[in-house]
């Protein structure tokens, strides 16, 4: 349980940083696609006796490369490229899994996560990844901010859009790759956007948005694990349900507050 909470905390921090830029840059679809598209890599890795993370990493890199290539070499929008690789990789994963009878238990683990089965090595990998993600966010803070405001302005300011966009995708990919064990490939996307989304509603600075996202992520992990333990529910899904609930609670409170201050303004102006 301690290891599960430790893993949950690390993953929450990584997802808070990457998720903030997923939201600011409008990369939700690519985040979702990478989350699902890592399935064939994980399946193949398990089939050949490697660690699932290695397979996930290869799949994620393949997806980013494919999306970039299709977007650059065709007149298709990146949405189409992302969608094609998304369904392509997902179906490839299902085909690989369906060919092998040894997958039944593993498949549930891949799809829905197994936060209670996380090993010490997994935690070390997650720690390393979180440090790398934080380092990328610190080093690339200026270009990432300019990219979120206006990619053209970033280019004119001397920051290569192609380079820093790809670094951002790489950062999102690492996050997905080290996070899928906690809540599964089906739901890892929820950890990227739900806490950061709630943070975006509250914060007026990017650092504050990340901090809120990390706090909401960690709270979701803890409450989700407790709920799943006491009521014997799937841990990954419980965590994401809590995260999404937190988003809606923040959303409703914000709206009520705005309505109240808005009414006050009306009274003053009236």
């Amino acid at each position: 349980m301690v290891q599960a909470l430790l893993a949950g905390t690390l993953v929450s921090i990584a997802c808070a940083i990457a998720g903030t830029f997923v939201i600011l840059r409008g990369l939700a679809f690519i985040g979702d696609a990478i989350g699902h598209g890592v399935l064939p890599g994980i399946a193949l890795a398990i089939l050949f006796g490697f660690h699932g993370i290695i397979g996930a990493a290869v799949s994620a890199l393949f997806m980013i490369g494919g999306i970039t290539l299709i977007t650059q070499r065709s007149r298709l929008s990146s949405d189409t490229a992302i969608g094609l690789l998304f369904v392509g990789m997902l179906s490839l994963g299902v085909v690989i899994v369906s060919r092998s009878s040894s997958f039944s238990g593993d498949l549930t683990r891949i799809l829905f996560g197994e936060i209670l089965g996380i090993s010490r090595i997994d935690i070390l990998i997650q720690l390393g990844a979180t440090i790398i993600i934080a380092a990328i966010a610190i080093i690339c803070a200026r270009p990432f901010l300019l990219l979120s405001f206006d990619p053209e302005q970033a280019e004119v300011a001397g920051f290569s859009v192609r380079l820093f966009h790809n670094i951002m995708l790489f950062m999102i990919a690492i996050t997905v790759v080290v996070s899928f064990q906690t809540v599964g490939t089906l739901l890892v996307f929820g950890l990227l956007i739900a806490p950061a989304g709630a943070g975006a509603l509250l914060a007026r600075r990017i650092k504050a948005m990340m901090l809120w996202a990390a706090i909401f992520g960690i709270i979701s992990m803890y409450i989700g694990l407790l709920v799943s333990y006491h009521f014997n529910l799937a841990a990954g899904a419980s965590i994401i349900l809590v995260a999404v609930s937190i988003f809606f609670i923040v959303f409703i409170i914000q709206n009520l507050r705005h309505r109240r201050t808005g009414n006050q303004k009306d009274i003053i102006h009236g």
């Binding site: 080093i139 979120s148 206006d150 053209e152 004119v156």
Partner: protein
């Protein structure tokens, strides 16, 4: 507006004008393989301003993007500070038209203005006290110093536009390139903006902007370029902005009260442009 006299004559100061900052010779511009405007020639010197005037889709933004190096030129010559475009990040401040809305960014106004200093500091170099002073001065110039710590989202559209313009000023660039910089500004904001541009020109900076405002902004400029998928006219405002040239640029011109009111033709250029856009979208 009280201070319009200030803006009637180009640049209300006596800075010597010499070095060539921007030069185009028979330049063709466009997207991908489609040329939007051919044969553009002009020179912009230090301390001068040029206004690009034309309807939506007439090539104003395309020209600005070609100058900053986002789009490649499709023929002819273009030099920026004596070099090909895209090589002078530290000397150019750019404000495009289609940036993210301030309503979605979790930033304070001052954070966005400070981004104007990034080109000078790159990835690493720390921002110092001098940068803070410049950022605050730019906010003051645009009359938003009291909003420095306000969340960008809490500001109105016009206030946000002032923040974007303060960002451009904070760069203290040699060349300011702005696409429709007065969008959403109220009368007070426009006056502050016009004064700020006048100060920038006096400082020795050059300005190139796309605008619909032929009264005030264009009057501030040394040169005006009328665009309608081709260069209709280029030269000093009083020579170029004849009713005939404006008619060709915009479609309809109504004169009255010593002012020229220009209306965009809804059925002429716009329809043609829309069809043009549709054509471009087809594979």
């Amino acid at each position: 507006m009280a201070d319009t006299e200030l803006n009637i004559n180009a640049r209300n100061c006596d800075t010597p004008v010499n070095e060539i900052y921007l030069q185009a010779k028979q330049l063709d511009i466009g997207y991908r393989n489609e040329v939007v405007v051919r044969d553009i020639s002009f020179t912009l010197r230090q301390g001068e301003a040029i206004a690009l005037i034309g309807t939506n889709g007439s090539g104003k933004s395309t020209l600005l993007k070609t100058i900053v190096g986002i789009l490649g030129s499709m023929g002819g010559e273009l030099s920026v500070f004596g070099m090909p475009p895209g090589n002078n990040h530290r000397r150019i401040a750019y404000l495009g038209q289609f940036h993210a809305s301030g309503f979605v960014l979790p930033l304070r106004a001052i954070d966005l203005v400070a981004m104007g200093r990034y080109p000078l500091h790159g990835l690493w170099r720390r921002m110092g006290e001098k940068d803070d002073e410049i950022v605050m001065a730019a906010m003051k110039t645009m009359g938003i110093e009291s909003l420095a710590n306000a969340s960008l989202r809490s500001l109105s559209g016009g206030q946000q536009q002032r923040v974007y313009l303060a960002q451009v000023l904070a760069h203290q660039a040699d060349l300011l390139i702005m696409d429709e910089p007065t969008t959403g500004l109220d009368a007070g904001g426009r006056e502050l903006y016009l004064n700020a541009i006048n100060d920038e020109l006096c400082r020795g900076a050059s300005v190139i902007m796309a605008t619909h405002d032929i009264q005030e902004e264009a009057a501030l400029c040394h040169q005006v370029m009328l665009l309608a998928h081709r260069v209709v006219a280029i030269g000093p405002p009083h020579k170029v902005m004849t009713p005939e040239a404006l008619l060709e640029t915009f479609g309809v011109v109504v004169a009255g009260e010593n002012r020229l009111h220009v209306l965009e033709c809804k059925h002429g250029h716009d329809d043609n442009e829309r069809q043009g856009l549709n054509r471009k979208r087809q594979p």
